[in-house]
Amino acid sequence: MTSSRWNISGGLLLVFLVLGCFQDAQALPAFARKYGLRCSACHEAWPMLNYFGQKFKDNGYQLMNDRDAPIWQNPSYWPVTFRITPIWHRESTDKVAIDTAAGPNTSERQITSNGFDITGLDFHTGGTLEKNLSFYVLPSSDNTGAFHFETVMARIDNLLGSPWLNVKLGKFELDNLVSEKRILTLSSYGGSYDIYHFIPVNDGNTFGQIGDNQLGVEVMGHSVDDRTRYSAALLSSSDGNPGLLYGNGYTGFFTFSQAFDTGKLGVQRIGAYAMIGEAPTTYFTSNNVPIPGSGIGNKSFNREGFVGQFYFGQHFDVQVVTQHGWDSAWFGAGYGDFPDGAAPAGNGPGTGLPVGARAPSWNGVFFETHYVYSPQLIFIFRPEWVRMSQQALAAIPSSLGNLDTYVFGYRYMPIMTSRAGFAFFNEYSWNRQRGTAPDGTDLTGSSLMLGIDFDF
């Protein structure tokens, strides 16, 4: 027995020693192969960008060294990266409605499951078509292999010879400095930022999700050193879904940020964003089925907040995003949600608001803190809170839908070179939403995940 204990201990030690002895760091392959830079040059920890990586992205995936055009590359260079993540995870939800002898959904209990799994597969292809002409196409699948286009965009850079004027068209990630598409945590409750997707309970607005890639056109600009940057995007109010499913609503997304040189502490950045839009609330129907594209009764919504990226030397940083959200009372009453072909009752023209309907609003914030031991090892902790400030009806409990999420974990990148990326990660996330359990009490869930995140 003693021998087997030592075997386990020795085995663990060996694994960690082997991992620890690799010295090389970092690279996101498609661009790293093109430019010969390690991933750590552009990523604080892959896939999260650092300041230099943000500048590279803002330049249209160009280093601006007059060797960005494909004509300078070896003809065999093919700008493709795939990424997939095999994992083991444990998921737990404390109150799930279950059937009993008394009838369906007459009781509830905690459900906990665990097992091995895979994430979806991403095929990133991006780069330059010519100097100052760039593109990004990302076919992405879920873990069953069903593909969709996550990103499809072309971009013209440095119009009129100025970095202040760049235009992109297609489906793209909004200009979120703290990018959810490059999030370091992947577990069920840690794999997205709540405030990038939050809508109040029973709210019908599916359009104001700043974390989802959107269809539209974006103008952005920046100073040569990227200290100052802005963007303005005009988007279809479709939450990035292709096809004219909804109506004729448009949304604007605007950002501005300024970075400051603070000596040994590093470069600090503060900024603000605003999403202001309108989207249909009701649809013409045929045999009670909404007619695609027939959305009418556009109502407004907005999301705005501040962003801060604060560095305290080379090892510690905090990324902060706040949000104030507001939806029209129509959304608050449940209108707007395109119901996948089935119109909810009253979601047609000529309906009216319930008596006493109010515009719901809320506030949220997250603090993502990183301890960067080295480019190969990063520890992450993120608390996130969302609090309703006004419910759609006075009778709704004021705390209904309030969210608390805590995520902590680490990513260790033992062998990332300028040819491939590889990260061993381990994280735990916990989430509670007020009043959303089947019995109207708080619903709590947790997710434990470990796995290997790799790309080539």
Binding site: L12, C21, D66, V267
Partner: protein, 288 residues
């Protein structure tokens, strides 16, 4: 007992993961370099900023080591695929200087090179660093070469005030271009196709191309007229581009600056004046 063993092994493993990379990093620097790093000399001075070598190590490892290598010898993991090759810091030889040929650059020269990058190479513009971080990197880069321990940086050359551009000066600049035979490498039209162009090698005997004035808007060592003046008065050490400070007078150097500007692709006063002059490419055989 089992719990204690398991906890102990996890603790030891964690410590190993954290400590081993640090030990390995320490091993790559020689004893001599370590001594210098611990000395008060392991600093850089740029304006009122003092860079500290040890503070630059982490940024060097994150951003620079892939090309320049752990030892600063230009043999990073991607070096075999790069052209031109990354700088070998151990030699203490740098292209972009404000100091006379053969001397060490000033800290400010290195500081500016980091932010400016080197056009037509894989060295990007690292202008995202804070000034302090760049100064720290300069100090760290200096620790790779023993030259910094034995020599002081050269004294920056004096650049006289830039005169006004005139057609006569452009013509005079073309005469200088012809006289000192710039065309042998850069070609009679400045298109990097002179008779010697294909034979050029750097100090490490690696093929190297001359600068193509018709293609580029920026120079290796800057974008301004003063930068261009410095390039041919200090030379690009380590390359076939010599210093012409013994052959060209300061006034003639400005003439050459104006003529070379007229060869570049972007619109400029020099280009316009050259067009008005009807300036033809130099003819090396004229007068024979």
């Amino acid at each position: 007992m089992r719990t204690i063993l398991l906890r102990s092994s996890l603790l030891i493993s964690t410590v190993a993961v954290l400590v081993f990379p640090a030990i390995s990093l320490a091993q790559i620097t020689s004893v001599q370099q370590q001594e210098w790093l611990n000395s008060p000399a392991a600093v850089s001075h740029v304006g009122n900023i003092t860079g500290n070598a040890k503070a630059g190590a982490a940024d060097y490892r994150r951003y620079c080591v892939g090309c320049h290598g752990e030892l600063g010898d230009g043999n990073g993991e991607v070096a075999p695929w790069l052209d031109p090759k990354p700088r070998d810091f151990t030699l203490g030889v740098f292209k972009c200087r404000s100091t006379p040929t053969g001397t060490l650059p000033t800290d400010e020269d290195l500081f500016n090179t980091i932010a400016r990058g080197l056009v037509t190479s894989n060295m990007p513009q690292w202008n995202t660093f804070t000034k302090q971080e760049r100064a720290d990197l300069v100090a760290w880069i200096k620790h790779f070469s023993p030259r910094w321990q034995k020599e002081k940086a050269g004294v920056p050359i004096q650049i006289p005030p830039e005169p006004e551009v005139t057609a006569e000066r452009i013509k005079a600049g073309q005469d200088v271009f012809n006289r000192v035979q710039c065309w042998k490498c850069h070609g009679v039209t400045g298109q990097a196709n002179g008779p010697s162009a294909s034979t050029l090698t750097d100090d490490l005997n690696r093929p190297i191309l001359p600068y193509n004035f018709h293609e580029e808007t920026r120079f290796k060592c800057g974008t301004s007229d003063q930068d261009l003046y410095k390039i041919f008065m200090t030379g690009l050490d380590g390359t076939p581009m010599p210093s012409w400070s013994d052959n060209i007078k300061p006034d003639e150097a400005w003439d050459l600056v104006f003529y070379l500007r007229s060869l570049q692709p972007m619109p400029s006063k020099e280009k316009e004046l050259a067009k008005q002059l009807g300036l033809k490419p130099v003819n090396p055989n004229a007068g024979q």
